[in-house]
């Protein structure tokens, strides 16, 4: 498999603390890659840096061979990297329809002139966006809320809206920041299924998550960070039993950690 996203030697320090201390990894095209690590290991900083929401001190990020290092967030998004946020971000006072339409609007060729004159280009863009939105709404199972403002949805449903919005413009890669944190366990399974379906249809995901059970069921490849460095990486199964990971994660002996993780999930 070829690397879609390549991150090399990412460094970022806050007031002397090395949040990222030379992290390198790759995300293969068509994969679901997990990024895990204990609190403060630099997961969030890593994805903030590679999506342009934080300036990195040094390192290189490239998407399909194109250098996107240090570009502003909106240009990285236009290059094809869409992300969600840990604390869910959606337009709470707009309908689900508008939430999805806005997410795609920067990616169609129609300008305000096209819109004013309702040109062919504008109508085609709107139609394509509607088709995509309808497919995603069915996938996340929120059809009956389509015209309703998203503020009244539950937390888990909002996470699904954020996921659908990130998928709207057919991005090359979707980076999910804790997609199931704070989500009702019964709904986690729904998200898993949705992600697997999307991945089956060719979408690539990079997922940052605390829920180890979720990561191990879903991911083909897992990267483990600890204190700003990459501890190890490998298949989900290998990671799950790696004593170093267990120790880093919980500071416990492997047996105890294993039991702890099962409990947490």
């Amino acid at each position: 498999m070829t690397a879609l996203l390549t991150v090399s030697d990412l460094r970022k320090a806050y007031a002397g603390v090395h949040a990222l201390d030379g992290v390198s990894f790759e995300v293969a095209a068509g994969s679901i890659t997990g990024l895990i690590g204990p609190n403060g290991s630099g997961k969030s900083t890593a994805i903030d840096c590679l999506s342009g929401f934080q300036k990195l001190d040094s390192g290189r990020v490239s998407l399909e061979g194109t250098d996107i290092t240090g570009k502003p967030a909106h240009l990285i998004a236009r290059a094809g990297l869409m992300r969600t946020f840990q604390t869910v971000r959606i337009y709470e006072r707009l309908s689900l329809r508008d939430n999805l339409a806005i997410a795609a609007q920067q990616f169609d060729p129609a300008t305000w002139v096209d819109e004013f004159f309702r040109t062919r280009r504008y109508r085609d863009a709107i139609e394509a966006s509607e088709v995509r939105a309808n497919a995603l709404v069915d996938l996340i199972g929120l059809r009956k809320y389509y015209e309703i403002e998203t503020g009244i949805l539950s937390y888990g449903q909002k996470k699904l809206v954020a996921l659908a919005a990130a998928l709207m413009p057919h991005p090359k890669i979707v980076v999910l920041d804790e997609p199931v944190a704070g989500v009702n366990p019964s709904r986690i399974r729904e998200i898993e299924v949705a992600l697997q379906q999307l991945n089956g249809a060719g979408e690539t995901f990079l997922i940052v998550e605390h829920n180890v059970e979720f990561i191990t069921t879903l991911c083909h490849h897992v990267i483990v960070l600890e204190q700003g460095r990459k501890l190890t990486e490998g298949t989900a199964a290998a990671i799950h039993t790696d004593p170093r990971v267990l120790e880093a994660y919980l500071g416990l002996s492997p047996e105890m950690a294993e039991a702890e993780m099962r409990g947490a999930a």
Partner: protein, 313 residues
Amino acid sequence: MKLAFALLVALAFGAVPLITSSNYIVGVGVSALMFTVAAAALNLVYGFTGLLSFAQLGFWGIGGYATALTVMTFGGNFWMGLVYAAILNGGLALVIGYPILRTNRHAFVISTLTFALLAALIARDWVSLTRGPLGIPNLPSPHAFGVVFDTTHKFYWIAWAFAVAMIAFLYALCSSRIGRTLVAIKQNEPLVRAQGIAPMPYKLASFAISAAITGAAGGVLTFHLGIIDPSFLDFYYMQTFLIIVIIGGAGSFWAVIAAGIALSALPEVLRFSADFRMIIYGVILVAAMFAMPAGVAGWFREREVARMREAIR
């Protein structure tokens, strides 16, 4: 449907000078139209984009002075004056907006407030240009195509045509994808960026467009009054624009237009009680805010949301 209704109301307002011969009522009409335009412009930048701009007062005053000075000092006519007022204010908004839109929202509010106070200071103290507290009186009546707009009734048509054009333009803008993007920026700016949209050009454009329209509206009202002096930069005007936007419901286009007309007329309607009218006006405003904290439009919206909640349960 909504547009047809708006068109009908616009035509009804156009007919005001035909219905009444009272200079007083028609004069109130001119002010009401200009206040409504300025409030609609504030709604663009505050209600839609989420930027509370006190600079509107500065743009209003600068627009008034620019139009008056074009005619009295620089030998232009009223129409050119309006165009200059719009261009000058749009340009000023770009120049001050570019740095201050990079600060946080609180700093933006303070910076715009400072701008408005500075504009008032210049109007009063740059005597060689503005004649200071004496003001610029005896502004001539505008004329076009051989018609001199020398009575309040005739001048009303100018104000009406200007208001209809500006409101139509703002409506087209606010109801487009650009308007929707402005709302998105107000609600969640990081998300907008994550979706490939750069917020800055949108914020800057809405600030500049709002400035240009406010300035031209100030220019029109100045020639209705026939004089401009530093009191044209009194905070009373800013307060009026803000009250209209807040009571109407920030971010709701038509509610703010309706509130503009209603609230410009309200103090006049209360003239039956000359001593207490401003107190009554104040009480009505406070009561309205108690009953409808998100404005009239917000009140309807909350009912709508409650209905939706009920429906999906």
